[in-house]
């Protein structure tokens, strides 16, 4: 239970840090401007989708063997799913949607990689050493 709480907390941290970077980028150009509920929405749903991605690819399929792939998963899943929703909503121009699809991924990947590397034992089930 404690381990899962740590995982959720760290995924939340990754998304919040990524959203802070995202906020700065969205202020750079009028074409990037978004509704006021955009960032709270991202902080709420980002960890949710990141956790689902970690569950599916990590706990279920056992595909996540290194910190990089854990970070890749909790960055890519929210980035793709949230951006798909923004695409459907049509708030932004098409090129902006696709630009931010890539940008969001790297915004989450950057903090995600360092956090997953630092807390590798939280995300990866490393077997305990055998005692002879």
């Amino acid at each position: 239970m404690t381990l899962w709480a740590k995982r959720i907390g760290l995924i939340l941290l990754v998304i919040v840090l990524g959203t802070v970077i995202d906020y700065v980028v969205h202020q750079m150009d009028p074409a990037f401007s978004v509704p006021s509920n955009y960032f709270p929405h991202k902080i709420f749903y980002g960890p949710l989708w990141g956790f689902v991605g970690y569950l599916v690819f990590g706990a279920w399929f056992k595909l996540l063997k290194t910190p990089f792939w854990v970070a890749f998963t909790i960055a890519a899943v929210p980035a793709v799913l949230l951006q798909t929703m923004y695409f459907i909503q049509g708030h932004q121009q098409l090129w902006v949607v696709f630009f931010f699809l890539v940008a969001h991924f790297f915004m989450f990947l950057l903090p995600g990689y360092f956090i997953c590397k630092k807390y590798v034992s939280v995300f990866l089930d490393t077997p305990a050493p055998r005692v002879p």
Binding site: L13, T19, S33, P35, S36, P40, I43, G90, H91, Q93
Partner: protein
């Protein structure tokens, strides 16, 4: 549970809540932008339509009274005159035939046929408040960006506001009849049209 993790979670909740409050602040209009009929001086017997864009007064117009008219909302009041308010500055335009309508609180009775009306369209929550607006030839439409995000009013017939930052307005007078579609250049989902009769 590790105390560090608990601290992180609590910190994130606080930061998240703070960001929500910070980013959600434009949901409510800033102070001073909300007008109501109660805000008008009852002595002047004025009525208001379209959020302070057009004000008509039931009392007689005279020069002395005009000097006392406020330049801030709820703005100046002239019987039978077209009153336009942009930001906090209101101006009155004399009707083309020079006649001032008899005192009345009824817009249809008060305004001479030649008086052009100014319509207000708020840009709020990433949408045009009135996506379809019907006006008469010669009327003016004033768009006010009430979002913190920038928007544009760009469309047919020369409609081009450029970038409107939060609080800025753009006015356009429709001289010809027809349907004029417009949208925000930055946010394609924001679209509207003005039907000029």
């Amino acid at each position: 549970m590790n105390i560090k993790i608990i601290s992180i979670i609590v910190g994130l909740i606080v930061v998240g809540g703070g960001m929500y409050l910070l980013f959600n602040r434009d949901a409510s209009a800033p102070a001073g932008e909300e007008y109501s009929e109660q805000a008008l001086d009852p002595v002047r017997g004025c009525t208001m339509t379209d959020q302070c864009v057009l004000l008509l007064c039931s009392g007689p117009f005279n020069a002395e009274y005009a000097k006392t008219l406020p330049t801030e909302p709820p703005c100046a009041v002239y019987a039978g005159y077209q009153v336009q308010c942009l930001q906090n500055l209101c101006t009155a335009v004399k009707p083309a035939n020079g006649q001032v309508a008899p005192p009345s609180t009824n817009l249809e009775q008060t305004a001479p046929a030649t008086v052009f009306v100014t319509h207000a369209v708020a840009i709020q929550n990433f949408a045009f408040a009135q996506s379809a607006l019907t006006v008469k030839k010669g009327d003016t439409v004033v768009w006010t960006n009430k979002d913190s995000a920038p928007h544009t009013v760009t469309g047919d017939g020369g409609l081009d506001s450029g970038t409107l930052s939060g609080g800025q307005t753009y006015s356009f007078t429709f001289a010809t009849a027809g349907t004029f579609s417009y949208k925000c250049n930055f946010h394609p989902s924001m679209a509207g049209k003005v039907i000029v009769q």
